[in-house]
Amino acid sequence: MSSMPEILFAKPSLPSSGALAVLVAEDALEAAFADLDAATGGMVSRAAAAASFKGRKGQSCTILAPSGLGLSRIVLVGLGKAEELTPLAVEEAGGTAAAALLQDEEAAIDARAASAGAVGKAGPARAAFGAVLRCYRFDKYRTKEKPEDKPKLKRITVLADDPAAARASWPSAKAVAEGVFLARDLVSEPANVLTPAEMAERCRALEGLGLAVEVFGPKEMRKLGFGALLGVAQGSANEPRMVVLQWHGATAAGKAGGKGGRKGAKAAKAAKPLAFLGKGVTFDTGGISIKPAAGMEDMKWDMAGAAAVIGLMAALAGRKAKVDAVGLVGLVENMPSGTAQRPGDVVTTASGQTVEVLNTDAEGRLVLADVMWYCRKRFDPALMIDLATLTGAIIIALGHEHAGLFANDDALAQAITAAGKATGETVWRMPLGEAYDRMLKSDIADMKNIGGRPGGSITAAQFLQRFVDGCPWAHLDIAGTAWSTKDKPTVPKGATAFGVRLLDAFVAEHHEAAKA
């Protein structure tokens, strides 16, 4: 697992050693380079000109061993036009900077220009956040890697005009980054290590953050009537689990001197919690409707929805968000075997509705159906948002650019769309409707679990909607966005933790009591 570089904030001054990155707004090069040019006899300006570096968004330029300074390198990173600057652009510039600083143990990021425009004092902490996110690396299984091949970056000093303000806002940003790292670790773990039971154990470890954690095994779930989830799990030697994570941040804040955590459970009755649900298929072979061998290894991340929910709950608890939230994840392994469910089986969900399982590879919706119904009945939540690597069809619809958003509530859909734009985890709304719902009609049960190839993501969402029972609800199909095959500014290749930042921002923007 990856350790996060330490972040410090300091007043601007030229560091005497290590590496330095300078965030530069477009058309403001002269001011940004003033100190450096003075120390190097104008070399930085000349280097920038030679590299056609203009400070445009996404541009960067590295100067190695600059003369007259003790620095190993100077990295120039463009922010784009100062008046159009957004927090997201600052994060991405921070990430781009970090990628170029990995070879030094000590680095500084000059983030003075990051406070321009609407970003204001939050800028330096946003830059640090982006830098940290890019430093993620999953290398626990690389036992032979030479030390010189590993990234060395241990400490980043972010230079800001008001370091005290940046320092004050850093802990909550850091908590979100930790949630992102946790989710990425879970997604990156191979399926022989991360079984449902192991994943539940890792949830237990979050009790230290003040989360109440309950783990349900097959016996408990049988009692609750989770016929659909258990049907998926029955082919695997690894037992399923459901984990319920509770955070009582609003209740705790309301009580004078309240301690939060599980003690707040009773008092929480007053306000309905937000509910986040995740599909956690720790490995998906497809079951008896087995998948083709090519690319099947990707199915270790078929639990990315659950990982995002776990990461999000850790982030909310870590930053002591003033909100009551519950996270529920259904953890199973979908294997073919002598005990596996067959195409054609009929299962009874916790809601009592029956499902004809025509394709055992449409298993995520079966898992979520039971977990969603249970959540609805037990918590009566203010809203439910589920995340799931649910369908291949969403990749053919939207590719890797956007997650598919389905919602039965326009205001909720708009809020999620806006949070996606702000965090760079973008979503695109897809339709629901009766005509699609009809495609789930079964000859012998209340519904079948597949609607066919046309509109495959929509019929999957329609299936889930049958377990929502009128609650405001949104479903994010993240099959195309949970894993990245290329580096992006704040997301190194691999597990993206898509959903953690998006939903954290959604909670912060719309559901937190006025911040202290």
């Binding site: 053919i396 650019e401 190839r453 046309p454």
Partner: protein
Amino acid sequence: MIAVRFRRRMPDKGARALLAGPGAVPDATPPGFTGAAEETSSWHDASGRRLICAGLGRVPSARMVREAAGRAVSLAHGESRLAIDARALPPALAAEAAVGAVLRAWRFSGAPPPREDDPEPPPPLLRRIDIVVTGKREARAVWDALRPGVEGTLFARELVTEPANRLTPRRFARRLRALERHGVTVEVLGRKALREAGFGALLAVARGSAEPPCVVVLRWKGRLEVPPVAFVGKGITFDTGGVCLKPAERMWEMRADMAGAAACAGAMLALALRQSPAPAVAVLGLAENMIGAEAQRPSDVVRTVDGTTVEVVDTDAEGRLVLADCLAWTLRRFAPRAVIDLATLTGSIVVALGHHRAGLFATDAALAAQIAAAGEAVDEPVWPMPMGGGYTQALESPIADLRNCSPERRQPDACHAATFLKHFVGDAKWAHLDIAGVEAREEDEPLGPRGATGFGARLLDRLVSLRFETEEV
């Protein structure tokens, strides 16, 4: 088209259908009929006359009225006359029953006539529909405004249903000459004219076929002194995929790969029939995509009307090549107020949206909103989809300005195709409707029998009346 008449009294002859909601179910209905939306009932009275009931639901919308009438028509199978009692509805809404009835009653005119010596001759077809209303004149006036769109739709269905040997690009163009009768100017650009105008992409698609391609330009003058609104239609009369041959299974469906062009032609007919004041032009790229010694190969580079070079990595992504030339040429020649293209473009949009909505890609938010509104109003719903941005990278070619698609497996090809087309429209107000998946019905539905839908004709007609019949945009 079947004759429709509005009357005040039920006629004596023929089958009868009653459209009724829950509040207004008269005694004459069969027991158990409640008038709920989608409910139907059909029986015979003592005299052997067929009686039909179709439910309207509690608050009937125009769509529910159309669908109820369509259901009534489907139950009148074998009858030659049907009277629909719509007196429970205000006359303007009752007129919508005519729309649903005619759309459902349509039969392909090219079907072979029954043999005279057939021992079991097929039942007669519906020939006359009476709509019984409380206000004849009012209903008639509404129907006069709606009927052109319906005629345009049926015209499009006829074209889409024709098999590819009977509807080659040339014969398609000849069929469109029929529009001249209604005041539409028809111009046909043949291979030579296309070569001179630089239609390199379209001509490359057509190379494999013995059937010469053409571009048909339909013009409706209108009355307003403004640039025309332009429709561009994909008209691949048959799409084998070319050298990148499609699988044999269901390949016959590819005769409908000209449904975009057919819908544009249907819309032009509608505008002419209702004497729309809006000037309009339709540019239809007609070609056949065949495999052959002359066929273009995957890896060929072609040059479009605007000089863009395109690497053809898949010859089955041919619709966008045809449209690229047509879009670029339309913008140059007509400088239209807006351009809307319709195309059965990608399998990807079927996976994305299924058979119930077309994909809408647009550069102009207001235009997109009006297209969506028009679509909802005429039962041809669309859904906005993304393009540009990150999708642009998928179209980067190492040797040309663009490539026509991404060679990877499992791609959002509909978004890529729209992004590809966007390259050819510059700053124009443009919208693209990917109608693959909605151009045909798998089974009978209230608003049409199995087969061609004519999707887009009524939508474009309604869009013009919503947006383009004033001088301001």
